[in-house]
Structure formats: C-alpha cells, structure tokens
C-alpha cells in the first residue's frame, strides 16, 4: 500500500477531532483548517498519509469499500450500514449524542404496544427497521436527509428517528423523545483487508488515536 487514506467527516465532530489528530501525530496541511478551501483531499506532514473530507455517512462507505483505509465516524453510521468489512477498534469518546425515537408532545407512546406497523421519518431506515422488527413491528421508513423534525407536523410520519444531543431542536419543533435506540459516539474505523495486509502501518496510527 503506497498511501494511507484517512477519511474524516464534515461538520460537528470536526472541531473536537483536532486534538485527537495531533495526539495521533497527524498534521494536516493548512488548507484542511481553511473553511473556504474547495479541496477534498489533503496532504499531511507524513508523505504516506492523506486525509479526505467527506459526509459522515460516506466515511463508513469509503472505508468499507477500501477507498480509505481508516476513518472517523459516529457509531450511528456504523450501525446503519453494518458493513462486514469494518473494524471499529477505538471509541474516541467525542461527538457524544443519542439516536432517539421522537414524536409530537402529547403522543401516547403506548400505541406502539399494539401496533403491527408504524411510519417513521428518518435518515436511518435500516437501523430503524431493525429496531422495530425486534419488537414485532414493521417500520415503514420515510427516508429523509435532514429536517426530520418537521415531518410529523406536515403529516409525513407520526414518529421520527434522529440524533439528539441537547434536545433543543426537538423542543423547538414541538417534539419529545419517546425512547433511545442507540448511544452514539465517534469511532475510529479500519478496513478489514487493510488491517490484515498492512498491520505494521495501521496499528501505530490506531494506537495513537486510542492513546489519549
């Protein structure tokens, strides 16, 4: 393997990640910190290590398919895709939040006890379907990519499954949490084949991220 590619997510986790990158000895080029940069791929102080910045959901896909060998992504994304070719050796303990089922304030959650079918608006159709299947309920998932919170008021679905950290967005949209599906934190993920064929290169990096 000539160059290791590290896939990092855009957005929320990015700021919290900076000290962990430093701890692992990863020094990105200046453009990486520049919000106006149009670059997607960045060099680092190490000639054999590049960084790509992609959407959080795509980090798992890049690493699972071998486009990147190592990456950082929330456990929500890992659970949504359940790619067989991924290891998640380090819980970075950052980006903490939870994946929750929510509904308009005043919804009687007891309807779920008797339901055989439920409609849910979510960015996580597979995880949601799995969660409800275990309770004996078919979930019809309305797959949205954002702004799930307005779906109940507009009649798309009586429930949503989405990430919640403070609950502020839910409250602002008249929603309340019903239950937690998953506690989420950012994980270091590694491509299984890369781990097997280049352990000498990847293991020190993984240890570096885990050391803090």
């Amino acid at each position: 393997m000539e160059t290791i590619v590290l896939a990092l997510p855009k957005g929320r986790i990015a700021q919290e990640l900076a000290p962990r990158l430093a701890a692992a000895g990863v020094e990105p080029e200046a453009a990486f910190a520049d919000p106006d940069s149009r670059k997607l791929r960045f060099a680092t102080a190490r000639a054999d290590l590049d960084i790509i910045r992609v959407r959080a959901f795509d980090v798992a896909t890049f690493v699972a398919r071998g486009g990147a060998q190592i990456g950082v992504v929330g456990s929500d994304v890992i659970e949504e895709f359940t790619y067989p070719g991924l290891y998640a050796p380090v819980d970075l303990g950052i980006g903490r939040c939870r994946l929750a089922l929510a509904a308009p304030v005043g919804t009687d959650a007891a309807v779920l006890e008797r339901a055989s079918h439920v409609t849910v608006a979510t960015k996580y159709p597979r995880l949601t379907a799995r969660h409800f299947a275990q309770r004996g309920i078919q979930a019809e998932c309305v797959h949205l990519h954002g702004a799930m919170e307005i779906a109940p008021a507009l009649g798309l679905a009586p429930f949503i499954v989405d990430l919640v950290s403070t609950g502020g967005t839910l409250r602002a949209n008249g929603l309340a949490e019903v239950e937690t599906l998953l506690d989420v934190s950012a994980r270091l993920i590694v491509n299984r084949a890369a781990w097997k064929t280049a352990p000498g290169v990847l293991a020190p990096l993984v240890d570096g991220f885990g050391a803090l």
Partner: protein
Amino acid sequence: MTATPPPALLPQGFADLLPPEAGGQASAVAAAMEVFARFGYAQVKPPLAEFEDTLLAPGPGAAMAAQTFRFMDPASRRMMALRADITPQIARIAATRLAGAPRPLRLSYANDALRVDGLGAPRQVTQIGCECIGSGQIVELALLAVLAARAMGAGAVTLDVTLPGRIGTQVSEVSNALAQRDRARVAALAPDLLPLLDACGPLAGFSDLAPLYADLTEALAAYDLDEVALTVDPVEQRGFEYHEGLAFALFAESGEVGRGGRYRLPGGEVAAGMTLYVEQVMAAAPPPPPVREPEVCGSWAAARAAQDAGRAAVT
C-alpha cells in the same frame, strides 16, 4: 403500462463477462485446477440445484440458508435450492455417493454459485477449491490456496489463521466488541479475552500455534513462497460459522480472496477445505492480455502455419 426495460439491463448482481476478461478468467481457473491436480485432487461437478433440505442440511449447508435462492420443482412439487456455496455439495457427495471411496478423499471443483446478496454486490460468483475428506490437517489446503492464487496472477498475499469456536459464536455485547476489535470495550466487558484480542498480528509470535507456524513456513519455503505474510486472528468468527478449531482467510491487496479450514461432514467425518473467490482473485491480478485480432491469410495452409507459430489466423 410498463416501459420495456433496455435489453442490456440484467438483474441486479449479474454481469456479462466480455473479452478479454472472460478468457483471462478461464485461463486463470485452468492454471489453478492444474495446481490442484498436481496435489492429487480430482475434479467433481455437482449440479446447479438440489432439493432444499439436502442442500441446506446441518453443517456447511445450513450456514448459507439466508443467502440461498429457492424455487418450486414443478415435477416433484418439492422446494429446490440453487447452490450458494459448493462446499456443502462436496460434503454431500463425500458422505453419500463416495462414502466407500478410500480416505483421505481429495476432490476439487470450479463452479458458479448464486447468492441472494442485495445492495448491488455480485450475486453470481465463481468458486474454485479443494476439499480433503477424512483428514483435518489444513497446511496442505493453505498451501494450495496460496499456490492457486499465485498461479492465477495474484500479487502479494497474507494468510490469516483464525480459530473458529475459540470464543463462543453466541451474539452478545462481548462478541460485538470483539468483532469490532474495540479493545477498551473488551477490557470492560471480558478482560480475560484481552490476550486473545492482543494476539491478533504475526503468527510467528502466537505460541499456541507454534507447530502450525513451523509447518506452514516449511511448506511455503519449499515452494519459494517465503514472502507470504502469516498472521493470526484468534477472535475472528464472522463467516467461519461451520468451521471447527482451525481456519484461514487469504488476503490480497484487493481484499479477501479466499478462505478455508477444518469442518465436519453431516455424518461427523472430519474434513478440511478451501475456496478461492475467482472474481476477487482476478481483481488482485494484472489485467488479461488484449484480444488477439486474427491475421487474414490467403489460404487455410497459410492460416495453419500462422496458428502453429502461435498467432491467431483465419482466411
């Protein structure tokens, strides 16, 4: 009203293999089968479909149940299944039609299998492999896997030894943590398993398997394959559901290209086998030579002369 689908569109996961790839794959498979023959493996050709209850019998077959296409046999009105893996069929042949054949019984195969697998992954896969029935030793099978992959053109490979059954196959928080190689969570949930997790790495340093390491290095050295990396992963369970005790996966730069290990036939007889995923091996090999355009000769005699000289020719 439904629109007519474009005639080139195939069902998800199926593909036409065109020149020169189709020819490249055929010659690679022939080269691998030649390796198997040199070790005394005789080729068998099981059928494409069987009755569901025999194909998915306990043992190697049952593990593939979720990946198997099924349909009704209009003649017998019994459920039939298209094979998703060849190993169960070899196991059945060894336990029934060839039950009386002397052991160890060495059989090889090169066939296509069909998998339900969604999400755009290939559903028709070509498998080649060997099964040695009546002997559970895996050094010969691991050596065959490496030799065949190399004969097919795969570059650098890593042989990763696994210990199926060493930790329970029960799905639990611990098994999930192990599957993800999450050291901190394993330390919190089952600290007694940490030594196994930490043993993942070079096979040379894993004292439990020192004799296997010695046997493998000797076998590989005899075939000038000293550069094959040998690793061990005592916590890997996924995909080794029917294996017992000792198994292995073969990796190339393109990813996993094959696996093998020890298992039992439905009747309890011990066996060891290995399978290479031909499409994966080819992804690790250099591209096949371009198609040879035939030269047009003035006569069949001239064409034959050109052909004898190793060129493609017609009149």
